[in-house]
Subunit: 268 residues, 3 copies
């Protein structure tokens, strides 16, 4: 088991030196740490977005990885700092829902309220716990620090609403969760959500006024300009267009509210 890999996920952006400063604090405590940026471009204050990206990314890291997640509009208020151990992964961040999907998926998860200032960088500011609490805690974990020494088990971590699609008969009611860098329109419908449908019949996917009747295999399927649906690399249903941006074709914009997506199962 390696204790040296620390990932960072924040909404800090890259213009400011905030992510770099967190790395300075980590390397001061563990000069051998391997620090990986998951992304610093979570939408500002969007806890659900951060939680989704964190959950979809963490499993590609090896046992022992420590994931620091800071989307923290409540920094400095009463919201609790926490560390979660799930399997052989650690998650460090605010108790505001960001780590909730990890906790929910693992009934065995150890959830600790960070209270032991020995593991913090003092004095702790009220504006940057990424630097003063989460980075040093992660560094201490990476050198073998014991989460049980860092605080006490915690009740009732803050939850966020479940983001799974709802099934009604032979219809799955999902929604668009975001747009990726390529303009692919990502939904909350996972491969596993499609499993219960019977083996025969045909899926019909609807978004806005569009209807897609096959699930393609690759982004290069479909004619130029034709909307296709496929299961993307995280296993979620995506709407894409060969060599173009599906978000533009569908006129979907992340700054507006995102539309629903349905999958109907039509008997042959």
């Amino acid at each position: 088991m390696s204790h040296g890999i620390i990932t960072l996920l924040t909404d800090f952006g890259l213009e400011d030196p905030y992510a770099g400063i967190m790395k300075g604090v980590i390397l001061g405590l563990n000069p051998g740490a391997s620090i990986v940026d998951l992304t610093h471009q979570i939408k500002r204050g969007d806890i659900a977005h951060g939680a989704r990206v964190l959950q979809q990314s963490c499993s590609f890291f090896p046992s022992g990885a420590i994931h620091v997640a800071v989307v923290d509009p409540g920094v400095g208020t009463g919201r609790r700092p926490m560390v979660v151990k799930s399997g052989n992964h650690f998650f460090v961040g605010p108790d505001n829902g960001l780590i909730w999907p990890i906790i929910k998926a693992d009934p065995q998860a150890l959830v600790i309220h960070l209270t032991n200032e020995t593991f913090f960088q003092l004095p702790v500011s009220r504006t940057f716990h990424g630097r003063d609490i989460f980075a040093p805690v992660a560094a201490h974990l990476s050198t073998g620090g014991d989460p049980l020494q860092m605080g006490k088990p915690m009740e009732n971590p803050v939850s966020i609403p479940d983001d799974s699609p709802v099934r009604e008969g032979n219809t799955l009611l999902g929604r668009v969760t975001g747009i990726d860098h390529f303009g692919n329109v990502i939904t909350n419908i996972h491969r596993e959500d499609l499993v219960p449908f019977p083996g025969s019949g045909q899926m019909v996917i609807r978004v806005l006024k569009e209807k897609i009747e096959t699930v393609s295999k690759t982004y290069a399927d479909g004619e130029m300009g034709e909307l296709i649906a496929l299961l993307g690399s995280t296993g979620h249903l995506e709407i894409a267009v060969n060599s173009d941006r599906a978000d533009r074709l569908l006129n979907i914009d992340e700054s507006q509210s995102l539309p629903g997506v349905t999958v109907d199962w039509v008997e042959p």
Copy 2:
């Protein structure tokens, strides 16, 4: 003391491979270096911006850290390349003011004009000293290279204007220095600038037509849409809004000239 941590601060952006190329040069000379991006999004050619971010970030790195700063509109002209040793930190970059605040704050700083080509990557181009001079010098420092071997002590390094607020009686005259990723409006007024005010009385902060009469503790203080002032993570006074962007509320735009900020001390 660790000699292996090298930070990079540039105005190169992330589209082009320039920052990556500097890392290649460093790793060629010291494969064990830990390289940290402070930011590559200093505003193009904005030496004062780079100097401010460098000074605010460097202290969070451990003893022995080497900070490479390249905001270098005069690359290839007569401006001197330099290394500065202050405390146990090294600063490598052009002599154009970028490292001036570090030199000014430390009368003991060792300031060396880099002239010894043994430590450069030859031939030295006239367009990319980040690659040909600053990266290899930093790599040599990280493996124990002696700055005194790299050139000779240098007189009259280029200075930039002092960026501190001015006190007039019970008024502090400061200014907005920038906007961060969250839309917080950052000023040049530091916690320490507020110390001389007497212990009783009340601060009144003014920016444009707005007046703020308390210093808040966290970004979540204040009502939705209400402007607040607080001391941010670098100790500077910021104007913020709970769950919104202060720059938009104040209609402040970094591409325009930035307004002044005053703090008045009103006797009770």
Copy 3:
């Protein structure tokens, strides 16, 4: 020879965690790897752009470096995954032209079609070979894996058109290939393309309606607002303006088609 440095060049952007996920896969197989981002902002699906940046950057890395390049609109189709060994550098990516300039420049290059799933992360998706094939192959190479074990030598790798300027008498017909972060207008005319011109006489550079009659040495040459030409850090002819953006002065926009550039040699 070091086997531990792995560079990444993609068109994934930085909003999504895709690049971070590739790093997780690499570190799971080689926790000691040094991973360097060349850029993740290659224009979406622009293989020629990726190929150009890859070729211009790789030589600044030390012997043994492994370069992973993923601009891969055909992911999951029949296009072959490949590894190329040229000199002491390795190149891993899709056989779509991205690595072609490296192969073309080195008749001794070893070109292998990756077929041995032992070196992949299974199951291999049809949407993210960066994660499932290229990252794990690079990690295996970094720990001494033998490319000859990873597949079989491959015929007829996919080529892309040669991007060199054409000489007609005393005129060199080139073109603008892109705009860098500073607004410098980069051309496909390399220092070496200018060598055959006779030693006397004068160069006249033309782009759109502008004419430039000297080759400057530094970005700070020329008056404010005056277009200059110089050989940039990769050796290519660039059009620049002291303290301003040449792309704006020339009204050149990367989303439009890019203009030609000619160099004439005028006898004195």
